[in-house]
Each structure stands twice: as structure tokens, then as C-alpha cells.
Amino acid sequence: MSAFKNGMMFFYGAMAGVPLLLWLVAMLSPYPQYHVVRLAFIALAAVGSIVFGIMGYKEVFSHG
């Protein structure tokens, strides 16, 4: 798939992964035993969010 060649798979991964990770953090929030899991998920979501924004900017505004 050409999305792997030009790095777009990171964008698609973030597009799907960030909402999924946020949703998982919300679902696990009532359970204190999952505190570390939530920290890991939100850290991944943060990285994904930044990747999503930067690649989105390149695609939409600066056109690669």
C-alpha cells in the first residue's frame, strides 16, 4: 500500500488510534487499578495527536 511509502499510515493510525485510546482511558477511569494503563494510553494518544496534527497540516495547508 502506498500509504506505507509516504508515511500516511502514521496519519491513519493516529486518526483511528487517538479516539480509540481516549475512549479506553474514559472507560477505564473508574478503576484505580488501571492507573498505569491509563497513563500509558494517554501518553500514546498525546504522541498520536501531535503526529495527526503535524501530518494534517502538511496535507491540508502546506501540501506536503
Partner: protein, 137 residues
């Protein structure tokens, strides 16, 4: 070759170009363009929260805003997978007679796809409510 920023609908810089004939697309585009910037701000805020500390309530409010901006994207992604899986019969803007005939003759199982999309989107909305109530890291 540089990507073209205009087509028959007008220039990409014209934010209102989809509004007349594709309001769903307009909302998706608008929320996505805002999200491009806000998602970087949010990601940095989370990293600050994890390293130096930040008010948990502020992070929760920022998460709520991100959740709202991501909503059209989540819906369109779910819809996109439905379109692909059903070969255009779900959400495909095809004639209803064609959809009826194609489903009966060739693709009997495709009725599941709109249901899956609705369930996925409902989980996102329910997740938003639960996030407002329970979000805690």
C-alpha cells in the same frame, strides 16, 4: 507533483465551498481543519501534564474539546469502513431500487454495516458522556 488546491468546487481556501451541496462534508472539513491545530496543542498539554503537572480539571476540559472536534472524523471513518465493506450499498447515495435489488441478489449480509456504524458512533457519544462523568488519569 504538488497537490492541486482547487477543483470544480472552487479553491480549497474557500471554507464555504461545500456548504451549499454537502453540509455533512462541510462540518467534517471545518472540524478537521480546527482539529489539525488543536490536536497538537492537546498533545503538548498532555505531555506537560505527564511531566511537570497540570490541573486535571483543565486536562479534562481540553479532552472534552478534543472529543467534540474528533466526532465528525470518527463518524466519517466508521462510515467509510461501512462503505468499503458493503461495496457502496451502505451510505452509498445509490438509487433505492438498485440497493434493494443488489442486496437481494448479491449481497444479502450487507445490512449489518449501517448497524455497526451506528453502534460505533453511539459508543463514541456514550464515551463522551462517561468521560465527562468519570475521566481521571
Amino acid at each position: 507533483m504538488e497537490k492541486k488546491t482547487y477543483d470544480m468546487r472552487g479553491h480549497q481556501a474557500n471554507i464555504a465551498r461545500l456548504f451549499v451541496f454537502d453540509k455533512e462534508g462541510f462540518v467534517h472539513m471545518l472540524f478537521y481543519r480546527i482539529l489539525i491545530f488543536y490536536s497538537v496543542v492537546y498533545g503538548l498539554a498532555v505531555l506537560v501534564f505527564l511531566t511537570y503537572g497540570l490541573s486535571p480539571l483543565l486536562l479534562k476540559a481540553m479532552t472534552a474539546v478534543l472529543w467534540i472536534f474528533f466526532t465528525p472524523q470518527v463518524y466519517e471513518t466508521a462510515k467509510g469502513f461501512s462503505l468499503i465493506g458493503s461495496k457502496g450499498l451502505a451510505f452509498g447515495h445509490l438509487s433505492e431500487e438498485y440497493i434493494f435489488l443488489a442486496k437481494n441478489k448479491y449481497h444479502k449480509g450487507v445490512s449489518i454495516f449501517p448497524t455497526v456504524t451506528t453502534v460505533a458512533f453511539a459508543m463514541w457519544i456514550i464515551g463522551f458522556v462517561m468521560m465527562l462523568l468519570w475521566w481521571n488519569i
